[in-house]
C-alpha cells in the first residue's frame, strides 16, 4: 500500500501508520480483535515494500513477543507489539522491565471485553492497566487514545516520537470497535526523525559500554532510579497532556470521553447544540498523562457538571473525580460486555445534567 489516500480498518491503518514512521520490527501473538495488525504487517514484510521493516515474528506467546520487542528496542531500533486484553496482561511483566530500563517501544492494546476471556466486543476496561503502570513496581508510561481510523494511522508516529524523547514504553489504547471500523483516511507526511540512541547496546566502544539493566542492588540506587522515573513522568505531565475540546467555551455540562465513546459524545453534543443545549466535550488524547490542566481550566471557568462516558464499570471517572475534587458534579454513563450506549443515550444523560434537565427531573418527582 503506497497511495496516501485509502479506505481502511483501524487496525490496518495502524499497521501502515507504523510502517510509514519507519517501524523496524514487529513481534506479536495473534488475538482478536487486533489480528489485522500482524496480518497487514506480515503481508508488507513479505513484499519488502518498507526496507526499514527488518523483522516480523509471530511469537510463541505475548511474553515472548514483548521480550523480543525489548531486545529490538535495546538496540535503539523502532519496535512494536500489538495485542488485546488477555495478551496485554501477559505483556505487563515486560512493560515493567522496559519502563525500568527506559526503553522506547510501542505497545498496542485493542481493548476487548473482559475480565478473563470476556468477549470480542469493544471495551475500555484496560484503562487502569494501561494508565496506572499495569506491571509490578512503580512506574508510569504514556498512553495514547485514538478515536478514528486516521488517528490509528497517525499515532504510531506520535507514539515513537514520545517513546524516544522520554525513553519509555508508550501504549496505544484502542478498542475492538476502532480496530474494526473502516474509514477514509489520508496518510500524513511523516518526517523521518532521528532520535538520540546513544544509550543503546551496539557493542562497546573502547572503555565506553552500554548496560541496560533494571537491577539496582544498593537500596539508595534503586530509590534514586525510581525517583528519576517519577520526575521524568512529572515532566511529561507538565509537557505532554493532549486533548480535544468541542463546544466547551460556554458549556454547562462537559462530557469526558475518549476513543469510541468520544465519537458517540461528539454526535450527542452536535444534536444538543442544535437544540441550544449547552453541552461540550473534552476528549483526552493522552489518557496518561491525563489532561488534568484542561479539565481544571474548565471547572475553574465555571463548568459544574461532568459526564464521563466509558466502556467499563468506572475507571477514567476516578481520574476525573480526582481532578474535580468535589468542585463539580461527576456522573458517569457506563456500558460493559461489548455493548455501546447509543448517542441518544449519551445525549439524554448529558441533558439530564443541565439546569433544564434538573428542572425536568424535579417536576417528574413532583408528579409521581
Amino acid at each position: 500500500m503506497n497511495a496516501d489516500r485509502d479506505f481502511l480498518k483501524g487496525n490496518e491503518a495502524l499497521a501502515y501508520g507504523a510502517l510509514r514512521t519507519g517501524l523496524n520490527a514487529y513481534y506479536g501473538y495473534p488475538i482478536t480483535p487486533s489480528s489485522e495488525i500482524p496480518e497487514t504487517l506480515a503481508a508488507e514484510f513479505g513484499r519488502g515494500t518498507y526496507p526499514e521493516f527488518r523483522a516480523f515474528v509471530q511469537a510463541a506467546s505475548e511474553l515472548e513477543a514483548i521480550n523480543m520487542t525489548i531486545g529490538t528496542a535495546a538496540t535503539g531500533a523502532k519496535a512494536m507489539t500489538a495485542t488485546s486484553g488477555p495478551g496485554f496482561s501477559l505483556k505487563q511483566e515486560g512493560i515493567s522491565y522496559a519502563a525500568a530500563m527506559e526503553l522506547p517501544l510501542l505497545i498496542v492494546d485493542v481493548n476487548r471485553s473482559g475480565p478473563g476471556l470476556g468477549n470480542l466486543g469493544p471495551e475500555q476496561s484496560d484503562y487502569f492497566q494501561a494508565t496506572k503502570g499495569g506491571g509490578h513496581g512503580g512506574y508510569r508510561n504514556i498512553v495514547l487514545a485514538p478515536d478514528s481510523v486516521p488517528e490509528m494511522a497517525l499515532f504510531p508516529s506520535l507514539g515513537f516520537e514520545l517513546a524516544f524523547r522520554y525513553r519509555m514504553p508508550v501504549i496505544l489504547l484502542a478498542d475492538a470497535f476502532l480496530g474494526q471500523l473502516k474509514e477514509d483516511l489520508t496518510f500524513p507526511e511523516v518526517p523521518a526523525r532521528e532520535f538520540d540512541t546513544s544509550w543503546a547496546v551496539t557493542g562497546a566502544r573502547g572503555d565506553h559500554r552500554h548496560v541496560l539493566s533494571s537491577l539496582h542492588l544498593e537500596l539508595p540506587d534503586q530509590s534514586r532510579h525510581v525517583e528519576h522515573l517519577r520526575s521524568k513522568y512529572e515532566e511529561i505531565v507538565g509537557a505532554e497532556q493532549r486533548s480535544e475540546e468541542i463546544a466547551t467555551a460556554d458549556a454547562e455540562v462537559v462530557i469526558v470521553a475518549y476513543g469510541i465513546c468520544a465519537r458517540l459524545a461528539r454526535a450527542a453534543v452536535r444534536s444538543l447544540r442544535d437544540r441550544s443545549v449547552r453541552v461540550g466535550l473534552l476528549r483526552p488524547i493522552t489518557l496518561a498523562p491525563f489532561p488534568q490542566d484542561r479539565l481544571n481550566a474548565l471547572i475553574d471557568g465555571g463548568v459544574r457538571n461532568l459526564l464521563v462516558v466509558e466502556l467499563n464499570s468506572g475507571q477514567m471517572v476516578e481520574d476525573v473525580r480526582l481532578v474535580a475534587e468535589g468542585r463539580a458534579r461527576v456522573e458517569s454513563l457506563e456500558r460493559v460486555g461489548g455493548l455501546l450506549p447509543s448517542s441518544g443515550e449519551v445525549e439524554a444523560a448529558a441533558e439530564d445534567l443541565t439546569s433544564s434537565g434538573d428542572l425536568r427531573s424535579a417536576l417528574e418527582a413532583m408528579v409521581q
Binding site: R54, V57, V201, R209
Partner: protein
Amino acid sequence: MIGAQELYETKLGPLPTLTGKPTHYCAGCEHGTLTRLIASALEDLGARERTVLVSSVGCSVLAHEYLNVDAVQAPHGRAPAVMAGIKRVRPDLLVFSIQGDGDAASIGLLELLYAANRGEPITIFLVNNAIYGMTGGQMAPTTPEGMVTTTTPFGRDLHQTGPPLDASKLVASLEGPAYVKRVFLPVTPTPSPEFFNARGALEGARAVRHAFEVQQKGGFAFVEFVSTCSVNWKLSVLESKRYAAKVLAPLFPAGLYRDRFGVEAR
C-alpha cells in the same frame, strides 16, 4: 638493567574483556569459571566491541558486572527472546546469554525452545547446577532424584515432581539448532584422592569458542555446562565436585548432540 618481567613471556594473562571487579560468586563456583572462558573466547575472536551479553535472572544476573561488554538484563527466563529481538535487527552483533537451569529450563523453557526451533543465530550458555542457586537452594527442573533442597526437604520425589528435565536433549530434539553440546565443567575426581583433572574447563573453553563460531555462521548454539552449587548443596567445594561427578555426570551425560556446521571436526 633487564627486569625479571621482560625475561618472561606471558602465556596466559589478564583479559581486557573482564572488568576486573571481584565476583559475587561463591568460592569454587562454575559461574566464575565460565565467565573467564567466555572472556577468553571473545578475545580470541576479537569480538568484544560487537558483542552483547543478555544476562538472565539467577546467579548470572550480574554477569555484565564482570564481562566488559555491552549488556541487557532480561526478565527471568526471557533472555532468548530478548536476544532474538536484538539479533533480528542487528545481525552483525554477537549475542549471547548466560542462564541458569531454572531460568532456561523452567520459567523460560518456552522462550528457549522457540528461539531454538527458529534457529535464531544466538548463543546460549546454560549453567546447570541442579538447583536454584540465587534464591537459596530450591528444587530446579534438573534436581536429581532424592536431592534435598529447601522445597524438597525429604529429597526430590519423582512421583510428585516428574523426572529431572534434560535441556540439551530437548533442544537437540528440534530441527532448528546448529550446535548443541553438554560439557561437564567442574574439576573431576581422579583415582588419586588429592588430584582432580581440569578437562572440563579446557573442554568448556573449546565449546564456548565453537558456540560463538556457530552463531557467526548463522546458527543457533546451545552449550549446557553441568556445574555445582556447593553452598546450596551444603557440601564443601571439593565434595560438591565429587557429587557432581557421581550423580550429575551420569544423569546429564556430556556429549555433542548437534554440530551442523562441523565446527568440532576442524
